[in-house]
Amino acid sequence: MEDNFGYLLAGFSIGWALFMGLAYWTYRKVMRVRQDIDDLKRARNPRPEDG
């Protein structure tokens, strides 16, 4: 490979790695939020429907 793309590859890789890390962190956070919401719903609903 006469023109060495090592630096470009490295740069891109770091960029993508950061992006994917952020994506994974968001994904886990969303899962957590969904569970909290489910808990909230369960906590509210068993209350007898008034009126």
């Binding site: 490979m1 023109d3 793309f5 470009l8 590859l9 891109f12 890789s13 993508w16 994917m20 994506a23 994974y24 968001t26 994904y27 886990r28 969303v30 899962m31 957590r32 939020v33 969904r34 569970q35 909290d36 919401i37 808990d39 909230l40 719903k41 906590a43 509210r44 209350r47 008034d50």
Partner: protein, 245 residues
Amino acid sequence: MNEAKPIKAESTRSIVPRLTWLDGLFWVTAIAIFVDLYLIFLWVPKEAIQGNVQRIFYFHLPAAWIAYLAFFLVFLFGIFHLKTRNPKWDHYAYSAAELGVVFTSVTIVTGIIWAKPIFGVWWVWDARLTTTALLWLVYVGYLMVGAYAVSGDKASRLRSAVGILGFAVVPINYLSVSLWDTVHIEPIVIGGDDTFLSADMRLTLYFSLATFTALFVFLLVVRIMLRESEAAVEELDQERETALS
């Protein structure tokens, strides 16, 4: 009326929510991306005429295909939403539209970066690029309708109609722009079809497309979950208000 009792969110379950198929998809995508990078930058041979600039093609084309896939989904989900009036479809459509705009932006930016060295000008009114730009305009309008109301019933149905209209205009856009198109570029340069590519190039292109698709599916599902959580929180707010009033 009784006071809504405060909710203590003490969670009895484990801190880390259980793993799902999304985790599997995530790791597959992560690995595929790095392989894809390796293919694009090191493995695939340099294009004879344009040199290394042409490597951006392996980002530009997949991003364009995914953008059109995303907006096709918005079109489909829009129809389902109008038919069944189930807010679920609106959440799916909105998430797909948001990702569609992201991928369209990537397509346009890579198109511009690619056009500069080839033509010495930033923007070129190529039929494909212009149609994509128009699509971007329509669906940013779509998202702005969304910004007004997350679960407003009428606004969400208006969004679905715009989503359907927006996609239907694509073929006509392409037809009228290519008739109008003054700059003639041979297809290979900006997102041409793949018959001119050598075997290695075609392999890289398809691999890159597969990686982008996996990434798109992952981001879409996460965004849908987020969107549904937004709607759920809004619903709980309304419930709390009615309970308190």
